[in-house]
Assembly symmetry: C2
Homo-oligomer: 421 residues x 2
């Protein structure tokens, strides 16, 4: 049995027939090196946006089930076309949608999680020498309902398939040529990382580096699947390998700097200082599936015996959160609710941080000496994040990138860095 | 249990979101009259053409399996969007693709025939008050392979579903408002038929009236499903009802005149007059799935002891036929093969013909007195067809339409008459 390589191509890589031909050549090249190849593809270019637009023209509140029926078609177009292109190059190939493979998910629409992947059919077809092309982003429930996996879905499909098939590697082909120390659009001299640990990649992703969705990195970590992020337009470049920290040589304490502009800061003022008030607040948000990132609770004021609680959520959850907070405010007899959208979360990430003291203070001093006000701080073992004013974001990234010696000295070629679904 | 009405909407009826909203209103109106409604839809507008174009850009000879994977997506987009539009009008609705319903076909790609339709899920959902929206044109094999039904596929899906569900009626909504005595683009005073028998409709369809594909009419006849062809843009008009001849009142011997420009005439000259030569010729064509329409074999020539055989096939089969005929020519030691594309088949159709002698001679005389040369003739119980020169086609239709008293005296509104897939 040959080694199995799973390759994933995003929407921009299959945006038109010329690009699909290019992808077919990359796939065939991998096959001709003696590997068994399983390819996962997203919908072509802006197909998904186009379909969603029509859906909302017909119904301001389309059902999740029908959205999944609609959106899952995009990937089925891509797999059929790519399979034809591979066959035109003289190789045996076959396409499968999620129902045909048996990519089983929970019975949740628009953001289902994979619970099982059948591999019998895949192994049989690989043993017959066929290249297999599978629709990413979609799944099927036990009852035959079509589901989709939500943002980062195709990456997650690819990684989960690599795990189920015990693949040697999962290559995520995209329109960027790897993971950078920071966004090259902000710092043109950002360096490409040859390798990064799952943990660092997770923090980078959570902190706003849009190369990979955290879910796919989590899945890769869980199944110990080596992930490679590389460009489908510059295949000579080996991109960035994402592996377990035990396999890495750590040279620098800080691997990267990320900035996240997608958050909004909410302060609920004057919450009476009785036990359980934080649980009521965050429980209500969790019930509506709103993730809270940074949280700060001030010390209780002696006189009024009240607390302020500040936290950040994603901007897209703000309308839902406002409704919830109004009712929580009543229930807790709290004061004003303040919302600030002009914020940025700046993070430094590195698996080497844990052994080297002084990283945090260097970060705080750097920001202070550049007159950047820190409004919230949160830390993990391999990440330090500071909430600052949005207008200071780029300056913060640039100076931190320099202070932690991440500059390559060479200006990177900047392509688009839109995340693929 | 309420009456079940199956409605089918073709590609032009769902070409954009405005038209889908219009279709949703028609569907909901039928439901609000107390009927259970099952809707079958085609792909939006020119989706199929667009997908086929990309396929051929990638592979000059795309595999049937992958074409079916590709093309079946078009209908899945339509069913999701139409379901959302129906839900926006406050009704319960659910979409199903062929795999979800269980529309089982033979294991043949791009032109599979339906062999079984499961109705449990449909009946359960109807009993819950839901409007069901089903993807036409597609099927699934026992092994879970996706198939498509070929031309006229969505009509056939609708009629077969109506049969399986024992529906009261199958309404085929299209962009024409019914079946006419002849093509209104050729004869503006053509009359719309209130009703026509399955047999007449079959002959009209075979003779080139593009309103319904013969397959769907055959299926309707087989299951005794009353079919109604009506306009999705002019719903007040009841269109044309297609029913069993036993339920019809036959007023006129000739119900319609049709012209078919899609055929090509082939003459294989000087075939030695030994038994079995016709079987070799037509057997070879049948093996490649080429349908032969009219056939004339000349009397054997006494001197050379050879025959000429003339026949017509569809133009799209010509390239394949040429290859076959070259090898047959060698095998039979035949003479020249002559091909004539400048022909038209003109037919008069009517279930009342059988009881009234003289219809055929009236047709031949009418053509002769207009100096139109008849090159081949074929007849069935309810149809007489003459092969003539293409340039005479419109003149022949007009004069026959007049001679058999089919003119309404009123000019019909002419919309497009493109057949829906």
């Amino acid at each position: 049995m040959s080694n199995i390589i799973v390759q994933k191509f995003g929407g921009t890589s299959v945006a038109d027939t010329q690009r699909i031909k290019n992808v077919a050549r990359i796939v065939v090249n991998e096959k001709e090196q003696g590997n068994d190849v399983v390819v996962v593809v997203s919908a072509m270019g802006h197909t998904t946006d186009y379909l969603v637009k029509m859906a909302y023209e017909l119904n301001p509140n389309p059902s999740g089930r029908e959205l999944d029926m609609l959106l899952s078609t995009g990937e089925c177009v891509s797999i059929a076309l790519l399979t034809m292109a591979i066959q035109a190059l003289g190789h045996k190939a076959v396409s499968f949608n999620a129902a045909q493979v048996g990519i089983f998910t929970e019975n949740v629409h628009t953001k289902a999680r994979i619970i099982d992947i059948k591999t019998d059919k895949l192994k049989k077809n690989l043993s017959e020498g066929k290249i297999i092309v599978i629709a990413g982003f979609q799944g099927i429930t036990e009852d035959g309902e079509i589901t989709t996996l939500g943002r980062g879905g195709s990456d997650t499909s690819a990684v989960a398939l690599a795990g189920a098939l015990n693949a040697q590697r999962c290559d995520i082909y995209t329109d960027v040529d790897g993971v950078y120390t920071t966004d090259p659009r902000v710092v043109p001299t950002a360096s490409k990382l040859d390798s990064v640990s799952y943990e660092e990649m997770l923090e980078l992703a959570h902190a706003g580096a849009n190369v990979l969705h955290p879910r796919s990195v989590e899945t890769a970590k869980q199944y110990c699947v080596p992930l490679r992020v590389r460009s489908s337009f510059k295949t000579s470049d080996m991109g960035t390998l994402i592996i377990g920290v035990e396999n890495m040589e750590i040279n620098k304490p800080v691997a990267g700097v990320a900035s996240d502009l997608s958050q909004v800061r909410i302060v609920v003022c004057d919450i009476p200082d009785t036990p359980g008030e934080a649980a009521t607040l965050f429980g209500s948000l969790a019930k509506e599936n709103i993730s809270v990132d940074m949280i700060i609770q001030s010390y209780a004021r002696k006189i009024s015996n009240t607390n302020d609680i500040a936290f950040t959520i994603n901007k897209t959850d703000l309308p839902k959160a406002k409704t919830i907070l109004e009712s929580v405010k009543e229930k807790l007899n709290a004061g004003d609710i303040k919302i600030d959208e002009n914020i940025a979360k700046i993070s430094i990430i590195g698996a080497g941080m844990i052994d080297r003291p002084g990283i945090a203070s260097t970060m705080f001093e750097t920001l202070a000496s550049n007159s950047i006000n820190i409004r919230m701080i949160s830390t993990s073992e391999i990440k330090i994040s500071c909430l600052i004013d949005k207008q200071d974001a780029n300056k913060a990234v640039k100076t931190l990138h320099e202070v932690f010696n991440l500059d390559s000295g060479i200006e990177a070629e900047v392509n688009g860095t839109l995340p693929d679904v």
